[in-house]
């Protein structure tokens, strides 16, 4: 059979989870990571990252809206997907998705954004015209109360929602890891570390994405980049990256040392079919290089210009590396036979429903949604024209 080495169970030859299922944990991870970055400011009072607070929330929302789309597209019968809400199976990790997703979208992210933007929404509903006025009117839910006391209540409730939001973000992505980690049939997936690794890699990718988006939007708006802000973000990215890398290495070393029945098969796979995506892309380029670069910033005194460049490079490499990690988990987990006697090949189609073009489209789509959200709910209104003044006036 083409693309098969050794022996595969006959039903295993074609892969059932395509690149779309790679995208799904990737995009969900960006949501969780972006939200946790936003919560740094809100709950942990890291004032330096304030310029990215609203941007991070909108980024999380934009990606969260897209997150279920790759799942929908990969289903044999997308029209039946609402059955997940109608008759959720309690023992299924996947059935949890609908509810965790809905909880996160409706109870956490939307509420937090709404509370934070309420004063702006009320103001916009009075200053705009036409359909935009109607849109903002609907968003006010008919209440234009922006008294000091009302805003104070919003602030407190918002803080509380963020507090709930942090475990929710962990839950959202931890369960994605559990979807894979709980499959005892697949030794490449089956690991209690899987949810934890997914959470920390999600934080890395989300932080990197918000940092890059912040730097890019600042340039687009011809605004100076708040270096104190990106320095702090990069620092947090480095810390989470080190934790993430340690966990992944722990998993790897554990597998190598235990060398159970699946080891030889998986080891061969990593040295052949996954060599480029796992060792080169994920571990070397996507993890070690950015960790060294970000560490260099901490150790040496570099100019703002070179720091910016380092952040741009290491952020992009981190995003590629985390994507490679999702790829290696999802696709790698289907390349070897559960008989441990053979390997198959994944050939990505180009223009099919689960092909390359759709995947690229789904990856870019959140950026367009983000652009629309930024237009409707400008995240910069609170920002001073002089970014340096932020530290002083930061509430």
């Amino acid at each position: 059979m083409p693309g098969v080495e050794g022996y595969m169970y006959p039903n295993e030859v074609s892969l059932y989870w395509s690149v779309l299922i790679v995208l799904y944990p990737y995009i969900t991870g960006l949501v969780a990571g972006a939200f946790i970055l936003a919560s740094l400011e809100r709950v942990f009072r890291v004032e330096a990252v304030k310029p990215t607070y609203r941007l991070a929330l909108l980024t999380a929302l934009a990606f969260l809206i897209v997150a279920p789309l790759p799942l929908q597209l990969h289903l044999g019968h997308p029209e039946r997907s609402l059955e997940m809400y109608m008759t959720p199976h309690r023992t299924s990790a996947m059935a949890m998705f609908g509810f965790v997703y809905l909880w996160y979208l409706m109870a956490v992210l939307t509420v937090e954004i709404w509370l934070d933007y309420r004063a702006d929404i009320v103001a916009l509903s009075q200053t705009t015209r036409g359909w935009r006025r109607l849109f903002y009117k609907v968003l006010t839910l008919g209440s234009s109360n922006v008294s000091e006391r009302a805003l104070h209540i919003d602030e407190r409730v918002g803080w509380f929602v963020t507090l709930i939001g942090i475990p929710s973000a962990f839950l959202l992505h931890g369960y994605v890891g559990f979807i894979f980690g709980s499959i005892k049939a697949n030794p490449w997936w089956s690991s209690p570390l899987m949810p934890v690794v997914f959470i920390f890699s999600a934080m890395v990718s989300g932080i990197a994405a918000v940092m890059l988006i912040y730097m890019a939007t600042s340039r687009l708006r011809s605004q100076p980049i708040d270096m104190k802000c990106v320095d702090t973000i990069a620092q947090y990215m480095l810390y989470t990256f080190i934790i993430d890398f340690s966990l992944e290495m722990l998993d790897l070393i554990h597998r190598i040392y235990e060398a159970d029945e699946s080891f030889r098969s998986l080891d061969f796979m990593v040295h052949t079919k996954l060599w480029f995506s796992q060792v080169i892309l994920q571990i070397c380029l996507g993890t070690l290089v950015p960790i060294v670069l970000l560490g260099l910033v901490q150790a040496a005194k570099l100019t703002a210009a070179s720091r910016k460049r380092i952040y741009a490079v290491s952020g992009s490499l981190a995003l590629i590396g985390i994507f490679a990690m999702r790829w290696n988990v999802v696709i790698g987990g289907q390349l070897f036979s559960k008989s441990f006697l053979g390997y198959t090949t994944y050939k990505m189609a180009l223009a099919t429903r689960e092909g390359l073009l759709v995947s690229v489209g789904l990856t870019i789509l959140p950026l367009f949604i983000l652009a629309a959200l930024v237009k409707l709910l400008p995240p910069w209104t609170k920002e001073q024209p002089d970014a340096e003044a932020l530290a002083v006036t930061g509430d």
């Binding site: 022996y7 595969m8 169970y9 006959p10 039903n11 295993e12 030859v13 074609s14 059932y16 989870w17 799942l71 990969h74 289903l75 044999g76 019968h77 997308p78 039946r80 997907s81 059955e83 997940m84 109608m86 008759t87 959720p88 199976h89 023992t91 299924s92 990790a93 996947m94 059935a95 998705f97 609908g98 979807i179 709980s182 499959i183 005892k184 049939a185 697949n186 987990g333 289907q334 036979s337 559960k338 008989s339 441990f340 006697l341």
Partner: protein
Amino acid sequence: MNITRRHLMLLLPAAAVAWESVLAGTPEASPNYTMTGHWWGMLIDIPKCIGCGNCVRACQAENDVPDGFFRTWVERYHVDDWNLANPQVISPDGGKEGFPSVAEDPDGKYFFVPKLCNQCADSPCTQVCPVGATFISPDGVVLVDQKYCMGCAYCVQACPYGCRYIHPQKRVADKCTLCYHRITKGLTTACCEVCPTGARQLADLKNPNDPIHAFLKTHSVQVLKPQMATGAKVFYNQLDGSVR
């Protein structure tokens, strides 16, 4: 076949009635089939399997199994002496057209292993179904509700034995039903019906008179991948340690 036309005319009404009774559920074999009265499994007697592929063909004919996918298939193992960890396994087109002949190997052994859904009592595939589209019936058969399945393939990933696939045309999960439409009518499965050597035998574990009980008491049987603890109900007689 020396039935004359006259014989046929005499026989037909009787045969028609008998066939009707099969279609309705053979009265003598399964009077008012009750789901709680059965607990289905299968016995695979490895030393009897000759690798003819009858079961694979019959399964495809009985269940409209799409080409390239298998509800049941046959593997041929070749194990070198003590080298249990490295068997050479083939299953050309699921063994549908049999296997190429091989000469005696003085340093090793050959044998056939028919595979099918293990009808697990603690099935990982039904556990992960997000919507309740696959389930264990009250008589112990793992079934797919193809009108409800949304085709997410999570169950395919969760099966340790590779017994499930996504039907390329129906776009839903598909698998061995243990010929549920036959066994509820008092017939045996298509694969057991056509197995020339009795290497496959349908077994009702709840029926005290089923020959499976005597067999299990007197033979060394094993299930596939017992470490998976799936409660598999397909029992293999003389299963070699190299089989996975």
